[in-house]
Symmetry: C2
Subunit: 342 residues, 2 copies
DNA sequence: GTGAAAGCGCTAACAA
DNA sequence: TTGTTAGCGCTTTCAC
């Protein structure tokens, strides 16, 4: 099955009676090689079925033309769009991406980082696992001068860049929109506030309330588990509050959809009795009834920004190394679920 | 930024006053090296911050410990679960995966294949683009004895293995279920039948009808575009049929959900007036009302099967090379949308 | 149980 | 414009 032998630049050189260096240069389209020689080299290379040996190239240049990516979870539409953004930009720049999945575990994340380090990736893009606190596993990269870019779920580390959305602003905008719709008692359904993205959205929510002199009531803050049934429990809890809230800001479209359905099942009309704003702009929001007002979480753009930043850095373009945070624009998408007025 | 220098086995050898070969052997836990030397080597390696150089190793062994993956589209829950299955098995076996996205284009797919070939991946797992007919871009792999595994959307090629579900059977089971629910006029909403997976599901649909002596009516076959609005158009077309069908088998959950909503908006009750069965078991099916009966498309299992097969092949285990098709079990998941009885 | 030496295929500094 | 040469760091025969 294995072909007899791989063709090397030496074979080409011998056939053309030039030196291997000339062949090497010709193949990289080096301007110091004559047009004529180049043409001959390309032709014979093609004819002999030559393919350049990345291994030798990697060894020689000490670079892999590969970017390592660590995601917390592959099964997630947001992550997927991030990946497609990364893949696009990296691919265009000639980089491949090695993707690893930490399955939401800081431990596996560390193992993945270690693995990518061994594989000598040229750079890293990572979306941290929920329970990652200690960034020690990224230290080796920093030490070796390998750029690390954090995305979405970030922690701060010297010498690294972060790509995020302005979660405070998003929380603020979502809440303010509800207030503008006439809501005065707004619940907030979210995940554990230890994670900074949720803490920030919560801050935005609080800011909007404060700015509008709406008192905050501790019972309006509903923390849910990551489980699938969590949305239902949250909705029930909200309906039991006295007086019942007239708006909810939920930090996830799926959970928001489940809430809406639970409200409806219990005779609470959306948006008339309860206005709802979600988060992420997932497909589901366009399908449910009423359609879901949400924050567009621009995964693809974030992935592209991260990859572009990394690639530029690797190619030594611009003063990119000095950027510490890249904030991508995220907008409110208004649909039916929040429109009490017209 | 760059650290002063990489530690090599030569550095370790010098420090311990042994030869590089001994260090190399010790590091691979070669039995011919004495326990004592091994211990010393491991210790010094750790102390000096040694990391083995994959590039040199790759060059020497002519293998990359990397599997190339080509998907037709990253933004897709099915593909994502496939990837998570591949990543899991490959990772456990010490292989990394390089993922490329063909964006549904045969041309980009060919470019990706070419790219992965240049990168000298040890094996390939590919889910073909919808318009791929010509498999020439995989020939180089076959020629070099690099295993190629096709998944889900497959075409036949000598010397390659395919991982699929039994689409005919799935179409049959879905349709038969509708018949058992009392449906006698069953529409089939699907995508272009040029793609064998759709053609096969259609065949299963026809088989079930025939087996139950239900005449087939050409107008019941509704081909939809890939666009998002396609589901709505399909539903409207079905409602216009005379007499109106009493069941639909839709080859996609999202489209099925859109159909259901369109039916409901037009006063057609599901499942009472119209029983619906989807395909893929996407999250959305558990959320809509009524919940959606569907075929569970076991992406993760398929990915795992493909990766396991490939890894075993690469490691020279078993007579795996001889398997040409691996069919993964896919089941009907009965929920509310199809239950006219009970 | 260990060492010497050759070479995987490529690139780049230097020389011509 | 082209050639010479010396490695990149590792593995692996073969010899001791």
């Amino acid at each position: 099955m294995d072909s007899p032998k791989e063709v090397t630049i030496y074979d080409i050189a011998k056939k053309l009676d030039v030196s291997p260096s000339t062949v090497s240069r010709a193949l990289k389209d080096d301007p110091t090689v004559s047009k004529n020689t180049k043409k001959k080299v390309f032709e014979t290379a093609a004819r002999m079925g030559y393919r350049s040996n990345q291994f030798a190239r990697n060894l020689r240049q000490q670079q892999s033309l590969t970017i390592g990516v660590i995601v917390s979870e592959l099964n997630n539409p947001f992550i997927t769009s991030v990946l497609s953004g990364i893949e696009k930009i990296a691919g265009e720049a000639g980089y491949g991406i090695i993707i690893t999945d930490s399955s939401q575990s800081a431990k596996k994340e560390a193992a993945n980082a270690q693995n990518l380090f061994q594989r000598r990736v040229d750079g890293i893009i990572a979306s941290l696992a929920p329970d990652t606190k200690d960034l020690a596993h990224f230290k080796p990269f920093v030490t070796k001068g390998i750029p690390v870019i954090f995305l979405d779920r970030v922690e701060h580390m010297a010498e690294s860049t972060s790509v995020v959305i302005n979660n405070v602003m998003c929380g603020y905008v979502a809440t303010k929109h509800l207030i503008e719709q006439g809501c005065r008692r707004i619940a907030h359904v979210t995940s554990a506030l230890q994670h900074n993205i949720y803490a920030q959205r919560y801050k935005g929510y609080r800011d909007a309330l404060e700015e509008n002199k709406i008192p905050f009531d501790e019972s309006l803050l509903v923390i849910m588990e990551e489980a699938e049934e969590a949305g239902e429990a949250a909705a029930k809890k909200i309906m039991r509050l006295q007086p019942m809230p007239d708006g909810v800001f939920v930090t996830g479209d799926f959970a928001a959809a489940v809430c809406i359905r639970t409200f409806q099942d219990n005779g609470v009309r959306v948006p008339e009795d309860m206005a709802v704003v979600g988060f992420n702009n997932e497909v589901i929001g366009r399908l449910i009834k009423p359609t879901l007002t949400t924050i567009n979480y621009p995964g693809k753009e974030m992935g592209e920004a991260a990859a572009r930043n990394l690639v530029n850095h690797l190619k030594g373009l611009g003063n990119i190394g000095s950027i510490s945070t890249l904030t991508i624009r995220a907008d409110l998408i208004v649909r039916q679920s929040s429109l009490k007025t017209g």
